[in-house]
Amino acid sequence: MEVNFWDPKIETLPQQDLKALQLEKLKKVVTLVYERVPHYRKKFEKAKVKPEDIKSLEDVVRLPFTTKEDLFVDYPYGLLAVPLEEVVRLHTSSGTTGKPKALFFTKKDIDDQAELIARNLVMTGTTRGDVLQNSMTYGLFTGALVMHYGAEKLGVLVIPAGPGNTERQIELMKTFGTTCFHMTPSYALYVASVILNKGLDPRRDLRIKRAYLGAEPYTEETRKKIEDLLGIDVYNCYGLSEMGGPGVGFECVYKEGLHIWEDAFLVEIINPETGEPVKEGEIGELVLTSLNREGMPLIRYRTRDLTFFFTEPCACGRTHRRISRILGRADDMFIVRGVNIFPQQIEAVLMGIKGVAENYQIVLENYDEMIVRVEIDREFFDGRIERLLKLKEEIVEKLREAILVKPKVELLEPGTLPVSEGKAKRVIDKRTL
């Protein structure tokens, strides 16, 4: 496989040197917020920690977390670490309720993030001469603008299409020979279906080679589906406005996990309940510290996104560690008999068992009883009860191994449970205390 680099030196910097660089930057940013941001000074004082206490990367755990709530203290300008006149850009991120999070960027912040995007694009084979159709929302949302700046920095021709108006999207692709596009996965699926319904053969009538899909979680199956429909490569990208938008995590040509640029972010994965780091390879909440930001640096920001570290080095040669695609939200976690459980762990077990269909539901009842309701696969049923009883036993056993709690399992007819698009309610907690 062809592996390209934008900045080979930093992208392949040995872990040891990368860690030294991180420590140096961490010290700097911690000092910066301590001196310039009253809210951080207060938090640090409460946690009885001073910038000079950070002597190694391991000391990061002494620093308090930053949560979404912190962004609304002294709102909107309170977390700025530079005078307002240094700030050139506002982005917001819609919360589900109330005021939007307000994020500020200096000129350098924008350029730094664009640099990361340039690395990401090159990493997936995009070069000058490519035509990128940017179909994310331009505006307060970081998605489109950050990608736009990064692509221009690389020297790609950007079509600032924005989202929607599918007819026009396809016209643009045809007329200008779009070679890559940036979209949400759900919209990409829709666009692909419209392309095919129009009788176009994407492999012959269009020039698209790859797509960057992000801003909402999606499965490997969805990736494969879009790849097959259009005959392209789909790359998963992860970002959040709090950390500068898209480009925080990005897949390389091997598509096995997303590299996070560790010269720009200090990455931790923690148990969302205890705040302790999880063992390497275990699922937990992603926590990020911005190492380069000067306008509004964030220390140990709780993303609420669930992921895990890949432990093996990547075949592409980049030393920056990889995380898995986002598996869900930390808020999905529940506790049964004292054990922390994520629906994603249960899903992973179920999807590996033959005879199980896609939908499932977890019901928690009094006395910490956990019932996993599983739809069976239509094709699996052969009329014999033994086969179903065995399937049930297998599910119970494999779940017990994975989550250390022995659940009750109920087998259901397919189509009984609510469909799982995105935010289906997987866990129903009926426990009363």
């Binding site: 052969d382 009860i385 009984t416």
Partner: protein, 139 residues
């Protein structure tokens, strides 16, 4: 061939299921010749012997049921004490394991059949036929 076909339907244990299933059969003018219900607490399997098994299978499938169509054997039982005993003794003497069973009383009401599923239909049929017991042929 001495073969009957049995429809098996996977059902969750909830009220109205059997009603829905039998209504479908009634509306399609499919006659139930025999049936059995096996219960495994949270789910069960309902099995039917019907006069038009292929039609019934397609009907259930079309209506979203989890359904299977399996070959089964039928052996005539004598209407006297020990009638069933004679039949199962014969089956076990051939080393055949009965997976599950139901009873079919023929329309004339003069004959009754023991209908049962086995793991290997062809092999079991070979062992059972031409042994003095009358095998049922519905397909």
């Amino acid at each position: 061939m001495y073969k009957v076909e049995i429809i098996s339907i996977f059902v969750e244990n909830k009220p109205g299921k059997l009603e829905k299933i039998t209504k479908l059969l009634a509306e399609a003018y499919i006659n139930i010749l025999g049936f059995s219900i096996t219960d495994a607490r949270d789910f069960g399997i309902i099995k039917f012997l019907v006069d038009k098994p292929k039609e019934a299978y397609e009907l259930f499938k079309k209506n979203g049921f989890v359904v299977a169509l399996n070959p089964a054997l039928g052996i005539e039982m004598k209407d006297k004490p020990g009638g069933l005993y004679e039949v199962v003794k014969f089956i076990s003497s051939k080393g055949i394991n009965i997976e599950n069973a139901l009873v079919y009383v023929a329309e004339s009401r003069e004959k009754a059949y023991f209908i049962f599923e086995v793991e290997n239909f062809e092999e079991s049929l070979e062992k059972l036929k031409d042994n003095g017991f009358e095998l049922l042929k519905l397909v």
